[in-house]
């Protein structure tokens, strides 16, 4: 089952878990299943129009899904999806 890595700012909306395993054949399906399991994550990942937010990047292994087939990118067993939101802290 593909594993989704949850970054720390979003863990509070995912049952405080660092990673979640979801059954899915594509990235879009994986994210949909993730949000179904953890509804509080939805507004952090998607706009009201249902579009993935622009400050949330999604990687399949080490590749940005924007340069693969985006949400249609196929997943294999053992693939890791990383959600990487922008953080700005520095002080």
């Amino acid at each position: 089952m593909p594993q989704i890595q949850i970054p720390s700012p979003l863990r509070q909306y995912a049952g405080k878990q660092a990673s979640v395993n979801v059954p899915a054949a594509s990235v879009g399906e994986a994210l949909k299943n993730l949000v179904a399991q953890h509804p509080d994550l939805k507004r952090h990942l998607y706009t009201d129009e249902g579009k993935l937010r622009a400050f949330v990047n999604v990687y399949v292994n080490d590749e940005d899904m924007r340069y693969l087939q985006k949400e249609a990118t196929a997943l294999n067993d053992g693939d890791t999806i990383s959600i990487v939101p922008s953080i700005a802290g520095g002080c």
Partner: protein
């Protein structure tokens, strides 16, 4: 690979020649072939600008200054306070109340009297960034907010200066090198900032004290590699650091051909209003002025008069342990599913640390039909300032 070799002279300028005292000081560099005399002279000729003298800026400036970077600029307008000392290691307890620039300058001059230190006591803005950046070779971004992140990026792209990037949150950090000639910029990675309020700052979310050390030293390392023109730069890679799992991962970064800042058909040809871009114009004041509120003085009177009021604390349990008003604890995030624990017929006074989260709670409860619910203006901090000065502040 991105290097600065194209802008660095191969022959040392007269001012980059090392004195005997400097040769002794930099001995451990000079005996490494990757640095050597030529590299040390490159360091001496280099001009690096650090944005911020806080968490990331502390290790950055200390290590760059010690390593022999010839000219170090620091931009900061802030004053040292007690909550900085847990991580901003360039400042000491005696510096509380001083300008961070003055405090940092003392330490840097003590470490390396050969350093040409240039301090800029100002906020970095669209009006001054380009002029400032043009006087330096490399910009190291140690800021703490989204508007300045985008401002630094765009100004780096416009002036052609590499942006050595680091950012931190709680136990995690990110580092990269943006805006090299070939490499992606910050906007290639994140075209748009998050809506205000969705991503907590370090002041709201906390940060492990060592984390800016880890990430700031990575930034210092990348800066020195760029100057020396050695090694593999982080340009084109995003390094993710997870201190809890102690995992370092890297992701591929690509230059986005449609990037508004560095793409072929770029639309950003001058600096813009970054606070407006980040949607925070007019929101710097804590939210909460628009919800029904009560002052700490009035709350005190009510409590002393044993009035029938219900104090609702919407902070997290670990904050309750630091100090509390003996209120009933429901963290603001749990309020929707625990709202049935509250009695809407009673007068409810909600508080948090400073009044921002409790304003959200008051808004939520009013929308849910509660009529007698008020926000404690200034939160428990105001209580500690004006009612019970023995209470700890955090």
């Amino acid at each position: 690979m991105a290097t600065l070799s194209d802008v660095k002279p191969t022959e040392a300028k007269p001012e980059a020649v090392l004195s005997n005292d400097e040769i002794l000081r930099y001995s451990r560099h000079l005996i490494m072939p990757e640095v050597g005399m030529e590299g040390q002279q490159k360091l001496k000729a280099a001009k690096v600008l650090c944005i911020g003298a806080g968490g990331l800026g502390s290790p950055l400036a200390l290590y760059l200054g010690a390593a022999g970077v010839g000219t170090l600029g620091i931009v900061d307008f802030d004053v040292v306070d007690y909550t900085n000392l847990q991580r901003q290691i360039i400042h000491t307890t005696d510096d509380v109340g001083r300008k961070k620039l003055d405090s940092a300058a003392d330490k840097l001059k003590a470490i390396n009297p050969f350093l040409n230190l240039r301090t800029f006591d100002t906020k970095l803005t669209s009006a001054n960034a380009l002029e400032l950046f043009r006087e330096f070779d490399i910009i190291a971004d140690g800021t703490d907010n989204f508007p300045t992140r985008y401002l630094v990026n765009d100004a780096c792209v416009l002036t052609g200066k590499p942006n050595v990037y680091g950012s931190i949150f709680r136990f995690e950090g990110q580092a990269s090198v943006f805006a090299t000639e070939e490499g992606p910029c910050y906007r290639c990675l994140y075209p748009e900032p998050p809506p205000p309020g969705l991503v907590p700052s370090c002041a709201e979310g906390g940060v492990l004290g060592i984390l800016p050390g880890l990430i700031g030293v990575i930034q210092a390392t990348e800066t020195i590699k760029l100057i020396l023109g050695v090694g593999d730069s982080l340009a084109g890679r995003l390094l993710l650091v997870d201190a809890l799992g102690m995992k370092f991962r890297e992701l591929k970064l690509r230059k986005n051909p449609d990037c508004p800042a560095c793409g072929k058909n770029r639309t950003i040809t001058k600096l813009i209003d970054y606070e407006e871009f980040c949607g925070i114009r007019g929101q710097e004041e804590p939210a909460g002025n628009d919800v029904p509120a009560i002052s700490v003085e009035d709350l005190k009177k009510k409590l002393d008069a044993k009035a029938d009021i219900f104090v609702l604390d919407v902070r997290e349990p670990h904050e309750y342990q630091i100090c509390n008003l003996k209120g009933y604890l429901i963290p603001v995030g749990d309020l929707p599913k625990r709202v049935n624990e509250l009695d809407s017929s009673r007068e409810i006074i909600a508080h948090c640390r400073s009044g921002v989260r409790s304003a959200k709670a008051v808004n939520f409860l009013r929308r849910s039909g509660f009529k007698k619910v008020y926000n404690l203006t200034g939160g428990i901090l105001a209580w500690a300032d004006r009612i019970d000065t023995t209470m700890p502040k955090y």
